[in-house]
């Protein structure tokens, strides 16, 4: 754009601009502390209405009291002084939404913070919106492929489901979420990653990783960093879901990750205590359940009449010393449609992803699993359950009958097979081939320590030689007898070469 052009454009904009003058409601700041402002006046204000302070910072009215209003300040509160004018805007808190936000990093107010310039938007969505009603919904029947074998086979997630990822610190919770985003390439899915109270360095790492994997082409990051006020952390997940709803309303499928809701609850506790709301269990306010239930309820799958879009939510909760019976974990477990439970012990034993298959469940995902996967996963679940039972038992003695030994060996191979390094999602067809080989006992002769090597080799071999089976899975989601026979033959051939 040339200089003349810029001047011309500016002139046009200024000529067309009309300042509107209308009577506005005002109040005055009585006190400001820790991101909360008490404001006198503003007698007609609505709950969750946006206000503007005289220095341009925005706020949200949360507490409407007899003679004052409690406002959370969304921004720098150090420049707000006592007696400052506060204007009511008449609008409920809303954020800009647009397709152009894809690939960008936004703050909790939907403004870009990645230094790539402004995002032009002409639409806004309310941050707080009542979730879709019963009549506009449809049951979950399409899978979300995370590319992680342990999850896609045993704890399947469907489009529109809410699946909790729960575990102690450093157990790979975020890694699962990031892998799931990376695997959405070409799966017709928009991803929203909401980072709540995370270190900026961690977010930067995630952003770089997603960009390297080409995932920023369909991902939006919403971030409320740990250096920002608690109010930003409080609204960030609602902002994320408001953006996700924009895509869902357009009939698209969205995957949203809240990383993590424990920090969200802590931010809300801070705000509530500062607003002098009565504390309850663990000092959380009484409405902390509603805080998360109204957020997660907005994840849904709409039926055809309403566009057929969906929002799949993967909230993350961090537990302390594996205590899943604490207040916030139990709340979110009861709200979601299942949980993926990660354990420190497993993580250090080298089982990564450290998913505890026994404690993890998916209450609705089963009906979304593709037919072929359902077939192999059923046997796998049984194998693993028997293995867990026998494992403890077998430590007492070595005199075990052949059937038990076989069962133990199979279990060991199943555990080995479900291990998967980070950032290496596997497509569902390949997952089915390897799991098929496992559950049919075709791997029983392969030594446990060689399972990984075998798996990689088998996938490459099948990709080159086993076109029928793969084609059947891709198109019909299930194999035919002919395909199965060919696959068996191919696995046998590969095994013969591998073991020799």
């Amino acid at each position: 754009m040339t200089k003349n052009n810029i001047v011309e454009n500016l002139r046009k904009e200024i000529e067309n601009f009309k300042a509107d003058t209308k009577a506005e409601k005002i109040g005055h700041v009585v006190e400001v502390f820790d991101g909360i402002a008490k404001v006198s006046g503003l007698s007609d204000i609505k709950a969750s209405e946006m206000v503007t302070f005289s220095n341009g910072v925005e706020g949200v009215a949360l507490n409407l009291e007899d003679d004052s209003v409690g406002v959370i300040v969304l921004g720098d509160f150090s420049k707000i002084r006592e007696g400052d004018e506060v204007k009511a805007t008449g609008r409920i808190l809303e954020v800009p939404v647009s397709d152009l936000q894809i690939g960008r990093v936004l703050n909790a107010l939907g403004q870009p913070i990645d230094g790539k310039g402004v995002v032009k938007t002409d639409k806004t969505n309310p941050v707080e919106r009542v979730a879709s009603g019963v009549m506009s919904r449809q049951s979950v029947d399409q899978p979300v492929q995370t590319g992680i074998k342990a999850i896609d086979a045993l704890i399947p997630i469907g489009r529109g489901q809410r699946e909790l990822i729960i575990g102690d610190r450093q157990t790979g919770k975020t890694a699962i979420a990031i892998d799931a985003i990376l695997n959405q390439k070409g799966q017709n899915m928009i991803c929203v990653y909401v980072s709540i109270g995370q270190k900026d360095s961690k977010l930067r790492k995630i952003e770089t990783r997603l960009a390297e994997g080409g995932a920023m082409d369909y991902t939006i990051i919403v971030s409320a960093g740990s250096s920002e006020p608690a109010a930003m952390s409080y609204i960030a997940p609602y902002t994320g879901v408001a953006i996700a709803e924009h895509f869902m309303d357009a009939g698209k499928d969205v995957l949203i990750i809240y990383d993590d809701l424990s920090k969200h609850a802590v931010a809300y506790r801070e705000i509530s205590l500062l607003l002098r709301r009565p504390p309850g269990r663990e000092a959380y306010p009484g409405d902390v359940f509603y805080l998360h239930s109204r957020l997660l309820e907005r994840a849904c799958r709409k039926n055809k009449d309403y566009g057929g879009g969906s929002i799949t939510a993967l909230p993350i909760i961090e537990t302390q010393a594996g205590d899943i019976s604490a207040y916030i974990p139990t709340n979110v477990i009861s709200i979601t449609d299942g949980q993926i439970f990660l354990e420190t012990d497993l993580f250090y034993k080298g089982v990564r992803p450290a998913v505890n298959v026994g404690f993890s469940v998916s209450r609705v995902g089963g009906s979304a699993q593709i037919k072929g996967m359902k077939k192999v996963a059923g046997t796998l679940k049984l194998d693993l359950a028997q293995f867990r039972e026998l494992e403890a038992f077998s430590q007492f003695g070595s005199d075990l009958d052949d059937a038990t030994k076989r069962q133990l060996e199979r279990g060991k191979r199943a555990v080995e097979m479900l291990k998967q390094p980070q950032y290496s999602p596997i497509i569902v067809e390949h997952q089915i081939i390897t799991l098929y080989a496992l559950v049919k006992g075709l791997l029983d002769e392969v030594p446990v320590e060689k399972i990984k090597e075998f798996e990689i080799g088998l996938i490459a071999y099948a990709e080159n030689n086993e076109k029928t089976f793969l084609k059947e899975i891709r198109e019909a989601k299930m194999w035919t007898d002919a395909g199965e026979a060919e696959l068996k033959q191919a696995i046998g051939d590969f095994k013969a070469g591998f073991l020799s």
């Binding site: 904009e13 506005e24 003679d67």
Partner: protein, 135 residues
């Protein structure tokens, strides 16, 4: 027990002193003071008195306005403003305060109770700046 708000107290004081004059009003004021002292509310007396003032103004149809302008207004302009506000708010009486503020550049800002009407150039420039940034 629920907290009694400043507005409740102000309403009570206004009702209590309504229609009283002379020695009756003196007694009423003394009683009010005693009550405020007993309830340890004297440190909030300014707030309470402001509220009482607002309640009485409302009953008497008095509207208080504050006009800020870049240049001093002349008598004719002031009268016009007061007439307009009287009509708009259905007021019996207007109590006005005029102030000069060069920062506003032009136009004026009228504050009526909790409402504000801002026609200043400063405000328009701010609006233009936001518009251009968002464009």
């Amino acid at each position: 027990m629920a907290k009694i708000s400043v507005q409740n107290i102000a309403q009570a004081i206004s009702d209590f002193t309504k229609g009283k004059s002379g020695s009756d009003l003196d007694i009423a004021c003394k009683e009010t003071l005693k009550f405020l002292n007993k309830k340890k509310l004297l440190n909030r007396s300014n707030e309470i008195l402001d509220s009482v003032g607002k309640i009485i103004d409302k009953e008497d149809g008095v509207v208080r306005i504050k006009v800020l302008s870049a240049k001093n207004l002349d008598g004719h302009q002031k009268k016009e403003i007061e007439e307009n506000i009287k009509q708009k708010y259905g007021a019996k009486e207007i109590v006005s305060e005029y102030m000069e503020d060069k920062e506003l550049l032009g136009g004026m800002k009228i504050i009526i109770g909790e409402e504000i009407l801002d026609t200043t150039y400063r405000n328009k420039l701010n609006q233009l700046a936001t518009h251009l940034i968002n464009k």
